[in-house]
């Protein structure tokens, strides 16, 4: 697949003839210099963006031609993100932040509350507090709670993707949400500049100029 952005100075190819398959439960790291197409690849894999050419198959189904609302539904039920900037809603508690996507997915109130409590306990965040009161690593952990909920909501869920840059620059590797997600059997894609984070992935892809130049498995 390829992804070309039309720009004023001429089209820019962020992805060039990229072909990649990610198995269920796989832990994939993506590294490369800035501007090589890592984020674009993540957005396309996460169905946030659509490729200019080529198909995207999710569980064997071509999702590149889905409508915006169908892609939203797919993301809501099957895919999760941990953003570098977390994007937690500051007016809500961490508990409510975790509960919110589940409410959007139509999970019953008692069920989603129990699940939110379980997820916050899982990352070590206890009573409901405002995200602003957390240190950065705690905010990331709260944001990471969105990922397992995606898997839990759908009965046949199989994949979750995480922007692993959330963990960059943090020495407490045992707190990284991708590790926890992967330990739980979720497929994880981590985009990072941090070699320590990248080293935890079993499979590592190196990108340059919109192409995959190296694909290694350890």
């Amino acid at each position: 697949m390829s992804r070309v952005f039309p720009m004023a100075a001429g089209p820019v190819a962020a992805l060039r003839d990229v072909s990649i398959g990610i198995a269920e439960g796989e832990y994939l790291g993506v590294v490369g210099p800035s501007g090589c197409g890592k984020s674009t690849l993540l957005h396309v894999l996460g169905c946030v963006d659509v490729p200019t050419t080529g198909p995207i198959k999710f569980q064997g189904r071509d999702v590149s031609g889905l409508s915006d609302s169908d892609r939203s539904r797919l993301r809501l039920r099957e895919i999760g993100f941990v953003f570098q900037r977390f994007f937690l809603l500051p007016m809500l508690t961490a508990f409510e932040n975790v509960e919110l996507p589940q409410a959007e997915a139509g999970v019953a109130r008692t069920e989603r509350r129990a699940r939110a409590r379980e997820l916050l306990d899982f990352v070590g965040l206890g009573p409901p507090r405002r995200p602003s009161s957390f240190r950065a690593v705690r905010r990331r952990d709260a944001a990471g709670c969105d990922c397992p909920r995606a898997r839990e909501q759908a009965a046949a869920a199989a994949g979750g993707r995480t922007d692993g840059r959330a963990g960059s620059g943090d020495g407490r590797a045992n707190h990284l949400p991708p590790d926890r997600l992967h330990a739980d059997g979720t497929s994880v894609v981590v985009v990072t500049h941090d070699p320590a984070v990248a080293s935890r992935a079993r499979r590592l892809i190196t990108m340059r100029d919109g192409r995959i130049v190296e694909d290694s498995t350890r």
């Binding site: 996460g46 946030v48 963006d49 609302s69 809501l76 999760g80 993100f81 953003f83 996507p101 969105d146």
Partner: protein
């Protein structure tokens, strides 16, 4: 009118003290009057002063003279056809103005008979319409500035939360869900303002009507409950339109937000 002393027989006239003093006139004297300015083509007429009187509605410096309508008509070259523009009739105690008006109309069908109540009602409908026009203009200006304020507020607020909106979209919130969120914010802002302002706006004119309730010229602002319901419906509709209009641009921003590009921009910035 201009006046000078004359010495000839003429119709009677009464004058006020100031005129008598300034022209050195006394009862029995004669006064020549001309209709219009000095250059008027009408001939002057001579009057005999039959009395020096006080007119209750005179200004302090007024020089006033009064004579019969016939003599005034002769002086000014008009024919007196003895017609009245308006006749005021007082009804008998206990009979009521409506009964009197009906009786007059039955006796003299060519007369246009109206009671005070009918006259006031007509004033309310026609003469006081400018009150309503001013109200409409003020309400429109207020609504427009309210719309502008909320539109700017929402636009700024949405622009500051583009990252959050893009994140919610990436997590699977549909386009319509985030657009509806902005609309709900607008509705809450507009209707909260309305809930505070409408009771105040209602109370003021009602108090005014009560305080000047004895004055028949006051337009009836507080009317029946039916018209109150109609006004409430109209107000709610205006508020809903204002909320929708104020949210239109922010909704467009959110609705057309490119998720991937916004996330990239928010992370890089």
């Amino acid at each position: 009118m201009t006046c000078t002393r004359v010495a000839a027989a003429a119709p009677a006239i009464v004058i006020n003290r100031r005129l008598a003093r300034s022209a050195h006139l006394a009862t029995g004297g004669r006064l020549q009057l001309r209709c219009g300015d000095k250059g008027s083509a009408l001939p002057p007429a001579t009057f005999v002063i039959s009395g020096i009187v006080d007119f209750p509605f005179d200004d302090a410096g007024a020089r006033t003279a009064a004579t019969s309508l016939d003599d005034i008509a002769r002086l000014c070259g008009e024919t007196n056809d003895d017609r009245s523009e308006i006749l005021l009739v007082r009804s008998r105690a206990g009979a009521g103005a409506g009964v009197a008006a009906a009786a007059i109309h039955a006796a003299l069908p060519h007369l246009h008979v109206v009671t005070n109540e009918e006259l006031v009602e007509r004033f309310s409908r026609v003469e006081f319409s400018y009150f309503r026009q001013i109200s409409v203009v003020l309400a429109t200006v207020t609504l427009f500035f309210g719309f502008l304020l909320i539109a700017v507020l929402l636009t700024v607020s949405v622009n500051q939360r583009l990252g959050e909106v893009a994140a919610l979209r990436a997590l699977g919130f549909s386009r319509w869900r985030v657009v509806a969120g902005v609309l709900i914010e607008s509705v809450i802002l507009v209707f909260t303002g309305g809930l505070l302002a409408i009771p105040l706006g209602r109370r003021c004119p009602c108090g005014w009507t009560t305080s000047c309730g004895r004055c028949p010229a006051c337009p009836p602002i507080c009317t029946s409950s039916r018209s109150s319901h109609a006004r409430s419906f109209c107000t709610s509709r205006l508020l809903a339109i204002a909320a929708l209009a104020a949210a239109a641009y922010p909704m467009r921003i959110v609705g057309t937000l490119p998720i991937a590009a916004t996330l990239r921009r928010e992370v890089v910035s």
